[in-house]
């Protein structure tokens, strides 16, 4: 059970944003991906669940080749939850309905089952009091936690986080990080693209430093953040810390 990324290249037109990335994420592991804007971190996440096609290489999720011709992406995505920078709440549905929708329509759960799961996940992220509220009435941090609950309600094996705190007001960042901290403690397999270096250091088993479409350094946080070996990593950390 793992995500295996093997020499992946990805271009948007003539711009190559991922230039041969290889890494493996084992079940139960938390891997943080850090690096400057435009280094290809977020794009890699979109490639892992097949929202973006790749140009060459391959990505295997539990042995399934994500970009192979016959792969049922809708089915594969059930076990890969993703949370975006812009939380993308469905504005026309209440908090509870947002979380219930996919379990009902994609997994075919009954209304009662879906509701039970949704209430459980929303309670887990601290939104038990907001079940029947519309997203427009929530703060950014609450909407982002709702998005996390929405992904969790599909009982995914993997969770991908794409700079989930970048669009939040500073005072709301903490509550979202707390939720992710909780998940990591529960043993969820996570790939976390983040600018929160302190958080990455605290929760990650490994940290990958992305620079210009390549992984320049990958290893335990004590190394990549605490004692970086590559000059690019040193320069990046100096610029953000």
């Amino acid at each position: 059970m793992s995500i295996l990324i093997d020499d992946v290249h990805k271009s948007f037109g003539s711009l190559e944003v991922i230039k041969g990335v290889t890494m493996t994420v084992e079940k139960g592991e938390v891997v943080s991906v850090i690096g400057g804007s435009g280094s290809g971190k977020s794009t890699l996440l979109m490639c892992i669940n097949g929202l973006e096609p790749i140009n060459s290489g391959r990505i295997l999720v539990d042995g399934t080749d994500v970009h192979a011709r016959g792969t049922d992406l809708n089915k594969l995505r059930r076990k890969i939850g993703i949370v975006f920078q812009q939380w993308n709440a469905f504005p026309h549905l209440t908090v509870l309905e947002n979380v219930m929708l996919a379990p009902r329509k994609v997994l075919g759960k009954s209304k009662a089952e879906a509701q039970a799961v949704a209430v459980e996940k929303l309670t887990h992220v601290g939104l038990a009091e907001k079940l029947n509220v519309y997203p427009s009435k929530l703060s950014g941090g609450q909407q982002q936690r709702m998005a996390i609950a929405r992904a969790l309600a599909m009982s995914p094996d993997y969770m991908l986080f794409d700079e989930v705190t970048s669009a939040l007001d500073p005072q709301l960042v903490g509550e979202v990080l707390d939720t992710m901290r909780l998940l990591s403690k529960e043993g969820m397999t996570m790939i976390v693209v983040t600018h929160e270096i302190a958080f990455a250091r605290e929760v990650s088993d490994r940290v990958a430093f992305f620079h210009k479409g390549r992984i320049h350094e990958i290893g335990p946080p004590s190394q990549v953040i605490g004692n970086p070996q590559q000059p690019e990593t040193v320069a990046f950390l100096k610029s953000v810390l």
């Binding site: 929202l51 809708n74 993703i82 993308n88 469905f90 504005p91 929708l101 329509k105 599909m154």
Partner: protein, 220 residues
């Protein structure tokens, strides 16, 4: 010179006029249902990769929006007639108004579609929804809110446009009935004033029920 009002005959004719109003409403509703159907096709064709489809859709939309509705109805009746397609008054009027509705609504739908950010689709797909599922459950409901009021306006327009049926010989809708009464009695002011009140009430009924529906539907 002065004119003595005689309201009594007009009020006596009220039941006939109300039956006419029912036909008016029938044409308006049918033309909206058909209009929505064709508007969806036009909106899809307008975004198609095939140039022929795009051109056909844009021609329809351009003609519907930039020529008088009267001409569009005329074309359906006399224009098609000269091509050997003979429509009765009712279907000709229905076709004319449908053509007009579809043109306007196609633009409305295109705008509505664009108002839903693509990130919504991305979020839906990431939860394992298929393309059609994402469209039906996420895009369509949000688009519906955006197009709801423009659709209401179009419905009111459709009701008022039915009055043009009189020029293609329709005699059982509200204007048709009123005109028949008028030529028999020449109580023009009374009959048409009463008809105007009925049109006004129909239009108001549509806008008010739309507002009520919106209040029920769009709680967010």
């Amino acid at each position: 010179m002065h004119y003595t009002f005689h309201w009594l005959p007009a009020f006596r004719a009220l039941p006939d006029m109300l039956w006419g109003a029912l036909v008016t409403l029938e044409i308006a509703v049918l033309s909206m249902l058909l209009g929505v159907f064709f508007a969806v096709l036009l909106a899809v064709a307008g975004g198609s990769q095939y140039r022929v489809l795009r051109a056909a859709a844009s021609t329809w939309v351009e003609l519907a929006r930039n020529t008088p509705a009267l001409f569009q109805i005329y074309m359906a009746y006399f224009g098609l007639g000269s091509l050997g397609i003979h429509l009765d008054s009712f279907p000709a009027l229905l076709a004319g108004i449908t053509f007009n509705n579809a043109g306007y609504l196609a633009e409305t739908f295109r705008g509505g579609l664009r108002a839903v950010p693509p990130t919504q689709i991305r979020a839906a797909r990431s939860l394992g929804m298929g393309q059609i599922q994402a469209f039906r459950l996420i895009v369509l409901p949000q688009m519906f809110r955006v197009v709801f009021y423009p659709m209401t306006n179009q419905m009111v327009w459709a009701i008022l446009m039915t009055s043009l049926g009189v020029i293609v010989g329709l005699n059982n809708d509200l204007t048709g009935v009123t005109q028949e009464l008028n030529v028999r009695s020449f109580r023009t002011f009374e009959y048409f004033a009463l008809a105007a009140v009925i049109y006004y009430l129909l239009a108001k009924f549509v806008t008010l029920s739309a507002r009520l529906m919106a209040w029920r539907l769009f709680r967010y």
